[in-house]
Symmetry: C3
Subunit: 479 residues, 3 copies
């Protein structure tokens, strides 16, 4: 039975001098509290004090498209992994069998960030000391299952154990935020904040758009029959989210296309949408216009605006029909920022009241477009490497391509962007390690002094995020 180990030097360069500096820098930031300003954890987990994380398969496999897409890519049907079908068709119900398939194929994750996070979670959270594989599958299942039934493994307890200072969820703009309300009402002190995500309202081609508008009408108390009413309802919901602790909004879009339409044109498009006869081109123009409107609202209410463009969602139509969205079949496309963002930046790029955080799945834009843009416009900041690039190499490429041009101080630190609650400490730890190692590389090349690197390591792990997302009301930990 092979032993599972977790080296204290993992992800550090092998050069002894660099590794020594990396260790020191990492030691300074390893136990800083976690700020998680952007992610997709279900707030329900914290609304109910008794909430449980379920079985090991519930926790690690069934809801995590990072995990099952890799198994699927090797020909393993999602049904055998317990992923529900929209038509209610049969899927594997035996969680031990699901776990066994996962364990039998755990080698697929070698060298992947998912593999690194899982190993961290097994080792650190559950104390597993065997490597997962065909033989050890069931005994590890037992070990994890036993712990999951204990009160110390309820979400609130883990939230505290993980030393999370703030956790921002992502919530539909028309939400009543019931779970956030329940958390507040419960008296529990964990700081869980909503994030305003209006995609399903501003993308006129969203399936069920009319129903979403109806919900927005209901929750905002504004009957929406026109574009100005739509805007007013959005503003009111932003206010509500902000009252509930929100610090940011979140926007997905196929491209970062922005435009500013006349009130007449945008009103007409909105009417077409209400009448169910909007064209794809109209929807594109409307979406581009709404990004500018959202920037305008952020200038006014101070919510940080986050933009994540360039993912072709639900690329596999067959899978989408069978299992729905977010099934590991979102595929990036090339993205253009320089021309697309200009209409928005013409209006608000110089406005220091706006913080627009840009993310990309097209790494070619790091050095070519994003770093020069963020290195000029006061309103722009760069988010951390996103999704597939939340990985050691992804982070290194980001640092190497962004910082020389944008400087560190036009970036916003890390976010975990995850729905896998248990992976949060693993992901932040990975970021802190790779950051420390990257800084150490600059120290041993005499580009930075050790005290500069030390300040920067703190910024990367904590300070940049705190300032960018206006979380300064927290007392900062000592450096």
């Amino acid at each position: 039975m092979q032993e599972l180990t977790l080296s204290p030097d993992r992800f550090f360069d092998p050069d002894p001098a660099q590794r020594q500096v990396a260790r020191q820098l990492y030691a300074q930031v390893a136990s800083l509290p976690i700020l998680s300003p952007h992610g997709h954890v279900d707030p329900r987990l914290f609304a109910d004090e008794q909430a449980s994380l379920g079985t090991p398969s519930d926790l690690f496999i069934i809801p995590d498209h990072y995990v099952y897409r890799m198994l699927y890519s090797q020909g393993i049907p999602l049904e055998s992994l317990g992923v529900p079908r929209l038509d209610g068709g049969a899927v594997e119900q035996d969680h031990r069998k699901i776990w066994q398939v996962f364990a039998d194929n755990f080698h697929l994750f070698r060298g992947t960030p998912t593999g690194a996070w899982l190993t961290h979670e097994f080792y650190e959270v559950f104390g597993v000391r065997q490597r997962l594989g065909t033989e050890t599958a069931q005994s590890i299942y037992d070990q994890i299952a036993a712990q999951l039934s204990q009160p110390e493994f309820r979400p609130r307890a883990l939230f505290e154990r993980f030393n999370i200072q703030v956790l921002c969820t992502t919530d539909p703009a028309a939400s009543r935020l019931e779970h956030h309300q329940a958390i507040r009402a419960s008296g529990w002190k964990g700081d869980i904040r909503p994030t305003f995500r209006p995609d399903a309202l501003v993308n006129l081609l969203t399936p069920g758009w009319k129903r979403n508008i109806q919900e927005l009408s209901n929750v905002s108390g504004i009957a929406i029959h026109s574009y100005p009413q739509f805007i007013r309802a959005l503003e009111r919901q932003r206010y509500f989210f902000k009252q509930m602790g929100a610090v940011a909004t979140d926007h997905a879009a196929p491209t970062p296309y922005t435009t500013f339409l006349s009130l007449s044109e945008v009103g007409t498009i909105f009417q077409h949408a209400l009448q169910g006869k909007v064209t794809p081109d109209e929807a594109t123009r409307f979406g581009g216009h709404m990004l500018v409107e959202m920037a305008r609202m952020s200038v006014e209410d101070g919510l940080v605006m986050q933009l994540h463009p360039g993912s072709f969602r639900d690329h596999n139509a067959r899978l989408y029909q069978r299992h729905g969205s977010d099934r590991g079949a979102d595929i990036p496309t090339a993205v253009e920022f320089t021309n697309n963002l200009r209409p928005l930046l013409e209006r608000f790029g110089d406005d220091t009241r706006l913080t627009l955080v840009l993310f990309t799945l097209d790494e070619t834009t790091y050095g070519r477009e994003l770093a020069p843009l963020a290195g000029h416009y006061p309103a722009l900041k760069l988010g951390p490497p996103w999704w597939f690039f939340d990985s050691p190499n992804g982070m290194r490429r980001y640092f190497d391509q962004v910082i020389e041009t944008a400087g560190l101080y036009n970036t916003v630190g890390f976010n975990d962007d995850t729905r896998a609650f248990l992976s949060i400490p693993a992901r932040h730890d990975l970021w802190r390690r790779v950051s420390a190692d990257w800084l150490a590389g600059l120290v041993v090349r005499h580009v930075l002094s050790e005290d500069e690197a030390s300040e920067m390591a703190f910024e990367m792990a904590y300070g940049l995020t705190r300032r960018a997302y206006h979380l300064e009301d927290f007392s900062a930990p000592e450096q």
Copy 2:
């Protein structure tokens, strides 16, 4: 006279810890047999037991566009290198003079993979121990020429010396595979297999397309006057290739555009082509449709489908008119896979009977498109770094950008893609070294354990290729 050396540690990282692990991993795979599932070696070399490789200039310069393009880029006319002219115009006939020009300019290859392969071939195959240069040119010529006249340097002998287990050639779809037949008839045991390449038939704008269709009619015995007859003839030829040992098909295309046309539309386009009045747009649509048809045939007959898009062939029109195709003037262009491949993937992406291996000359697609696609669709695998990127840095970028997202097991190992038979061992050795070093880097960063890296090194050198190309009927070497 400077000594030529070939360090046992070449291409390994200088860090002593990493190098030590790299050495161990490399030692485990260095002498594994070579699987060459994709290349362009002329089967004629093996059809005739007495075939000779010619003079040193015949072997290393005149047919190798990797070599003469670099000399050409510095103003050396192809005529002075003996490269034939289409008009039969005079070119240098004195192979010693050609060799001297090459030697005088050998410094141009410093730091290039061509330089590394040539050095390997000189040292390992011919025992050369002087560095090639102006002074040593003629004595090295003598040394190589003397050996080339020996029976041990005939192609079949070298095939055995090189420990090549399977060598796949690339053959026009309308070929009768006479040389492969001759090899079989000869009783020689070298395993040389054809690969089905239908480009000249499915690209309706190919010069001589009508003649190619006529050849396909002749060889298949199916008179082709309609699209369904065309399809039937292709299927029959695929069957014939498979009978002759083929495991794969190969497809070049300007882009990976795919589409699925109605039988009526595709039939009309085909008639236009027969009438010599097809438009470029029709040809594009036909080509995109035929990729889907070829995937359908692969589902049915099990031939692995290989797609190499994105090269602007014969970019230099003047040179093309004088010397023809494949003269080192093929220049890559940006490529888009996410949207282009979708029509094919909608039909067959989930089908585990299909293996579609993708190659690219646009490295930006590694992390952005190819790895996410291969990390989801069961039918997709990623080919090794191609052409210009069959190099130490090309391999490192490939590993660093692909594996974190796609995992190792959605890749297919190495292929040499070469028409230079002698460079096969050099190229595989380079891949095995760079693979070992890359894995060693993960070991010393504690991302992989040594036993995991050891298994992966075997997969990269041998196992992945064997499985992907269905070569499992070979007895695998011991690990």
Copy 3:
């Protein structure tokens, strides 16, 4: 007060073996004379023997968009940095206050090439030994100001101290080169050469284009009422520039689009421009045509042609209206060379009399397009990493992506491309260090022998530039 240090090992890899080789290679090239074949230093600095560099803020901040864009990106108004307004509005006049803002924010430059250059300049040119920051701002200001008032810190004296052998400026094609004439007349021996930049004449949409044509008429003595007269005037000015020592021309363009128009079409477009009614599409076609014409002229007169495409100039319209061009708001865009350059290359790509040096801000083109193009066409060479990529990582990516395919000998060494005269030695030193370190990496990986690396280090620091720009009339320094 923290000490400012400048390690002799800066920018070298930490691996002891690699560093040792890097040191040796760097030592061989560190004190070679500087060839600066492309830059934007104002020739006025050298025309007047008494010219002064002004205050520390005049020197380091007010004219340098590399510096103030970073401050601006953090919300510091350009007015507070003394950057003039076009409307004559008030800007900070107190250079000590400007300096203090700069010093207070000097941490923004950590890890950037601007930070590295500034540190080099402070330390090496002015002997500063304290780190710049809030506390040390004014004493460092004093120290630099005192020196700037000395004769040894006049531009001509520094030119000699910096060991600059040739400095090429960039000059409007319609210039009378008064400052260059004054330098010649003065008898001073510094070799300052003009470069012919026709952008404002060939880009028909340039504001003030008619006025520019009038100037060209005046200076050339050719009344320009037609396209042939325009061409003749340009040729005459090229001749004049060449008489004044020019070795090159310089061309910016939004894209590298080239085309060759009929005389009738190009004549018509030119008339439209004279009549003030040219369309954007006509202007694009004219610009593409003029690149081919300029290549034709270079074939005839031997001036090296330099092409810098892909920057979206003055992206921030608001800032442009307030402060004008070149304010740190130029943002790159994706660029395509393979198709765009073909019309030019069809005519002149094989002509060894042409040297066309290509630059890019889109690093994806290095390996995909530029290296394959330069590795084939005799007329093409690759310029060094440009602008944002004139940095340690930018250089490493350039070497790693270009050299394997194009070879070293299809590149042209370094240029500093700077208007900041004092940064010239810092930039060349950085290039020489990173070059030496990159070569050392190949030596310790046994890809190059030490003597090969030594020759290549000399080429990168000096030899390639000397040959590419036809500066062979200088006596080369001993290697």
